[in-house]
């Protein structure tokens, strides 16, 4: 158990609270993160974002003097271990808040247990089913329908392609849903989807599909897969002879540093959707990037930004929960968060039906840099 006692301030407060002022307490937060296994990439980035977030919260003392003790444990992208961790956090470590997994499948299997044990759980998983019919579970991101509305409208209203091909990773629920939502909205606005092949995330050779797409020569190509696979797909399709001015549109995964590094110039002119615009859209975003780079020696990406935002939501909930926060008061406070500051979207976030709602922005790549796309 990588016990992460964060900075001298935390332990000092611990000693202080036990003897002196009653109300400054230590809030325990347990994180079940995918540090190994198939989702290790996303899990590690998210966990690092949370770590930096909690460090910032503790350093800024604005949670009525309370501090957060963070416990990050590896669930190896495995359902059994995730459930065991949740149980251990809730019953043995008596945590105040559990941070669930970034994979929807794991989140869906531990959410019912969190509800049963009445411990607040926040997750960056995308599936709305995680919160439906439950009171104790929160999502750090909006519903896919609301999230992907902006890029779908942008495609239909601004880019105005006639024919499109959409390619999605059929073995990952997040990408299947992203692709379906985008397709539904653009179809309603008159764009014709001429083909919808799917791949497996473990595939690396896309020549066959690339040839099939080049043969169709669509006006636009929509991708819903991991950053590296998207880059790989774009490169292989272009080398299979894709018409250079075909619009290439993606989701949150193509608004990441990974995608830019992996795709190189093939990323030029592609459109994507960002929780987080690199460089940060506000002061807090810039401090996050500086703190992250100082701690891990590399620029943060979309997933770490969401992790940081998750930590902020927890911090703000603790602050709003007043003195001596309990699981119940934190839950109530979190449910009522309205227009609080964050680093994702356009800087403000509200909790609507236990889902964090924020304005997503469409980005494009201009000479290797992610910038806000014109005409939003």
């Amino acid at each position: 158990m990588r016990k992460l006692t964060l900075g001298l301030a935390a332990s000092a407060t611990l000693i202080a609270s036990s003897s002196m002022s009653v109300h400054a307490a230590e809030i325990l937060v347990g994180v079940a993160a995918e540090l190994t296994g198939l989702n290790a990439n996303v899990g590690t980035q998210t966990a690092r974002g949370i770590e930096v977030g909690v460090e910032w919260l503790n350093a800024n003392h604005d949670m009525n003097g309370n501090t957060i003790r963070l416990m990050i444990e590896d669930n190896a992208t495995d359902k059994a271990q995730s459930m065991t961790l949740l149980n251990k956090f809730a019953l043995r470590d008596n945590v105040h808040v559990v941070v669930g997994t970034s994979s929807s499948i794991l989140a869906l299997s531990i959410a019912p247990r969190a509800e049963e044990l009445q411990v607040p759980m926040i997750t960056s998983a995308f599936a709305p089913a995680v919160v439906e019919g439950r009171k104790w579970v929160f999502k750090a991101s909006d519903t896919p329908a609301r999230m992907f509305q902006s890029i779908a409208n942008y495609t239909a209203d601004v880019l105005k392609p006639e024919t499109c091909v959409r390619v999605y990773a059929r073995d990952n629920e997040a990408y299947v849903e992203q692709s379906n939502v985008w397709a539904r909205i653009v179809k309603e606005k008159g764009v014709e989807i001429v083909d919808e092949p799917s791949i497996l995330l473990s595939d690396t050779d896309f020549t066959a599909i690339a040839t099939r797409i080049v043969d169709l020569d669509p006006d636009c190509l929509h991708l819903a897969m991991t950053p590296e696979t998207s880059a790989n797909f774009v490169i292989q399709t272009k080398s299979a002879g894709l018409d250079p001015d075909t619009l290439i549109i993606g989701g949150t995964t193509m608004a990441t540093g990974f995608f830019l590094d992996a795709a190189g110039e093939a990323a030029e002119g592609t459109y994507s959707l960002a929780d987080y615009s690199p460089g940060g859209i506000n002061e807090l975003g810039k401090t996050f990037e500086a703190a992250y780079e100082a701690k891990f020696g590399e620029k943060p990406d979309n997933f770490s930004a969401v992790g940081f935002a998750e930590a902020l939501v927890i911090g703000q909930a603790i602050k709003a929960a007043g003195d001596n926060p309990t699981r119940d008061s934190i839950r109530e406070a979190m449910a009522g968060l309205k227009d609080v500051e964050t680093i994702i979207g356009n800087g403000t976030l509200s909790m609507v039906d236990q889902m964090a709602q924020y304005q997503m922005n469409v980005l494009t790549v201009e000479d290797g840099q992610l910038v806000r796309a014109p005409g939003q």
């Binding site: 791949i199 020549t207 040839t211 790989n232 490169i235």
Partner: protein
């Protein structure tokens, strides 16, 4: 488009054949279901990548990767399989030892790459495609096909024209008899595992280059396809591995090109089932174990 897809299928087939060649030597010759072979292939890609990032030219990276995985494969045999060989009925035990080794290698790669997918730097290989009979061929596709053909001929020459090759085939058909005739099994195992590792490393770097993605779990899909190729072609048969590899490549590509992509796996694996019903020992396989039920 059919011609282009057939060519793509051939190249993918060459990739599968290349991977299966090394696998065939261990799984085919010694009947060891070596689940670590996918991990050795992945380590080859990583070693190739790290040599390039250290500034070495590409051909040096290939050599280093091949020698590294060759020695790694020999070490795995020495540490994990040889102690088990002495205990007689060790077919299952070796399978589990290979699972253990695979877990170790995957974990090391995960830690080294921080679970990230890496790629060769841009421009290390010319990307501009050239046209032949109206088909678009990228240099890498050509290199893969050429390397596959080269490896098959070299391996065939080694197996069927050299004395070492004869000894390997003798061990493959009946190890005890071969030993009685003075074949030194330790030498044979050393060789087959080295060559198998070498080919896996070569395939690793080549595939890492061609599809520009190297990560800790890239071995598994190729391991599964490698099993299908070997069983389809028939254990221990070099010809089988090549024919089945190419056939699998073409069938998979055509099914992706012309059928809903969700059916690819179903088509490929059902095909394997169908072939095994007709030929219980694969297309060219020698009777690994006679089916007792019917008269032979």
């Amino acid at each position: 488009m059919l011609a282009q897809q057939l060519f793509n299928g051939l190249v993918l087939g060459a990739v599968y054949a290349l991977f299966a060649l090394g696998f065939n030597l261990v799984f085919g010759v010694h009947k060891i279901m070596n689940l670590a072979h996918g991990a050795i292939f992945m380590v080859g890609a990583f070693v190739g990548l790290y040599s390039v990032t250290l500034g070495l030219p590409l051909w040096a990276a290939f050599l280093i990767a091949m020698v590294f995985t060759g020695l790694l494969s020999v070490m795995i045999d020495f540490v994990a399989f040889r102690p088990l060989r002495k205990t007689g009925d060790a077919e299952f035990a070796m399978l589990i030892a290979s699972i253990g080794v695979e877990m170790i290698l995957v974990n090391l790669a995960l830690r080294a790459s921080d679970a990230r997918t890496l790629r060769f730097p841009f421009g290390i290989v010319p990307v501009e495609p050239f046209f032949l009979f109206g088909m678009r061929i990228t240099p890498l596709q050509f290199v893969i096909a050429a390397v596959a053909v080269l490896c098959v001929t070299l391996l065939a020459f080694y197996l069927y024209r050299t004395s070492f090759g004869r000894q390997v085939r003798a061990v493959s058909s009946n190890e005890r008899a071969a030993m009685l005739l003075g074949v030194e099994p330790r030498m044979i195992y050393l060789q087959t595992f080295f060559i198998s590792g070498l080919l896996a490393g070569l395939a690793g770097v080549l595939i890492g280059l061609a599809f520009n993605s190297i990560n800790f779990s890239m071995g598994e899909p190729y391991l599964l396809r490698g099993f299908v190729v070997l069983i389809l072609g028939g254990l221990g048969s070099l010809r089988g591995a090549v024919v089945a590899g190419l056939a699998l490549g073409i069938i998979q590509t055509l099914s992706v090109a012309y059928f809903p992509t969700g059916l690819t796996d179903i088509i490929v694996y059902s095909l394997l089932f169908a072939v095994l019903l007709v030929r219980p020992n694969g297309l060219f396989g020698d009777a690994v174990s006679d089916a007792r039920v019917a008269r032979r």
